[in-house]
Symmetry: C2
Subunit: 328 residues, 2 copies
């Protein structure tokens, strides 16, 4: 029998988890939990039950790891500690400033319940965090940079949609090539927000809307756009649906640093992702950490952890010997 | 007091370790061990003793981690298990086919002595192995590729030097751009040896030597050059010393893979290194794992491990809270 996974929340991420489980023969989907009426939620895997979120405690014995697929703003701060009372859990909590608080809350509960909770799993936080750690310990005399994109920012797209006269919108965050090259040169440049990323917006406006006003409102919007060079394209709803329906993303973590008795040697460590589907890639990372959560708990561990704490080999279904033979 | 490091073998790698220790304030160089006459070995750090390798057992109490800086061919298979009887050890054993055997030999000794041994640390094996592991667990339906260079291959340079009429030589391994691009496209190409790398040789010949014969001997040398497109440049000793005295290296680990219920989304994970000094970078990786070896042993662990087994946070001198705040 494989590791039995529960999905808590069935949106883009939950569907990504369902799909990722199929690529891992040692994992099986045991149940989906939803706050909606379970009868209205159609999942893709035959024979797997959909339960109401409130009934999770009744399925304590059927789930080895519960994967939390709610949002970081209001869902996960409540749901992850609540579920860590009952299950090993993994979440993708990504509100940076609140991670310490979320860690503490989850750790307390998971230690009491004897479960393993792994929070903030995905690619950033997640794979990018790991790469910042590895690069930082290897090149202590150095500086690292993170660039995001090219990719869709859901938050920025939503901000445009709230403008009067806008029907729909998609915003792409794009790293500036010159900035990437300056970083790779090892010169450790100080880069402003504007120098690192540009923002490109595809906007569907209401018929007769004042396009100039909309463009101006976007470009001057504090926090979201005012600090960036922003381009705005008005397109039809058909074009938006045809050319901009995907959720691509990605980015770069680059660290440059010096070694040698006189710091005479330069080094560049670069990690990059180019993703067709942000939620499916995030889900793929999460299921690997779900495997680790189950295994660590089976070895007697408990409490809250992050990607920084997990021994890499624990993520793989293969035995250590095989990993050493194949990967070292 | 910091973690007290011993260096066992004082060549390029040993000097790199000495230099890397200076970049880490929680590490201190305690002693250097050599098989030469210690009086003939001048190190860069004042006040640190140089002892004969045979006297290592007398310094058991002064060293927290011994870093093994011998060669993989004959030194490390003997030295690493021998020193693991006395110390926590880290080595950079890189003879791929013999890693399982070296692991077993070292593991047996380290378990008996209650010490931690971390073998095959560096960038390949090492950081590249880690990236193959992480990328593989995240994209199980995928394929990974490793490219090396642009960088100096010591083995290939030595092979050229053994040809009659050759005074000195430096060989660069260079990845083929078209192959890198084909891999990044996600098409999962099958690439031959010739398609992945080219070999560029800078050769100093004896006066009056038959250059055509030398070039032909290089290009047709089995295993080393026959399977590659190889270019040979004859240059003067002055040019070689001026332009080719460094030991740069680097490379790429790229994995592409698919996600989605119909495998409809493509992803590219790419990790790359561009290194001015191969031994200094390798040394920088090793000292981070020396820290981990000391800490894991202090927590009661013992036995042989590889980079695949070490929790990432263990590599850093910073506390977990700080790492979460700064890196997640």
């Amino acid at each position: 029998m494989g590791i039995r996974i529960g999905i808590f929340g069935y949106g883009n991420l939950g569907r990504g988890i369902e799909s990722a489980i199929r690529q891992n023969s040692d994992l099986e989907l045991a149940a989906v939990f939803t706050r909606r009426d379970p009868k209205t939620v159609k999942i893709r895997t035959e024979g797997v039950p959909v339960y109401h979120a409130d009934s999770a405690s009744e399925h304590k014995k059927d789930i080895d790891v519960m994967i939390m697929c709610g949002g970081s703003a209001t869902d996960l701060p409540e749901q992850t500690p609540a579920m860590a009372k009952l299950f090993n859990v993994v979440d993708s909590f990504d509100t940076h400033a609140r991670i310490p608080e979320h860690f503490e809350n989850t750790d307390r509960v998971a230690k009491e319940s004897g479960k393993v909770a792994i929070i903030s799993v995905g690619w950033d936080p997640g794979m990018f965090s790991l790469n910042r750690l590895y690069a930082g310990v290897v090149l202590p005399d150095g500086k690292d940079y993170t660039f995001w994109g090219k990719g869709v920012s859901q938050g920025h797209s939503d901000a445009i949609r709230r403008i009067d006269g806008v029907v729909d919108a998609k915003q792409y965050t794009i790293p500036v090539e010159e900035a990437l090259d300056a970083v790779r040169s090892g010169s450790r440049p100080e880069l402003t927000t504007r120098q690192k990323h540009i923002r490109e917006c595809f906007v569907v406006a209401k018929e007769g809307a004042d396009l100039e006003r909309i463009e101006n409102e976007i470009k001057t919007m504090p926090n979201y756009f005012a600090d960036y060079d922003t381009t705005v394209h008005f397109i039809s709803k058909e074009e938006l649906d045809r050319d901009h329906s995907g959720i691509p993303h990605g980015g770069f973590v680059i660290r440059t640093g010096k070694t040698g008795f006189e710091g005479e040697h330069d080094h560049v460590i670069e990690y990059s992702l180019k993703l067709d589907s942000n939620p499916e890639f995030t889900a793929s990372v999460i299921v690997a950490y779900a495997r680790a959560a189950a295994r660590l708990n089976a070895k007697g561990e408990s409490g809250c952890k992050t990607v920084l704490d997990i021994p890499p080999a624990t993520l793989s279904a293969e035995p250590g010997e095989e990993l050493r033979r194949r990967l070292l």
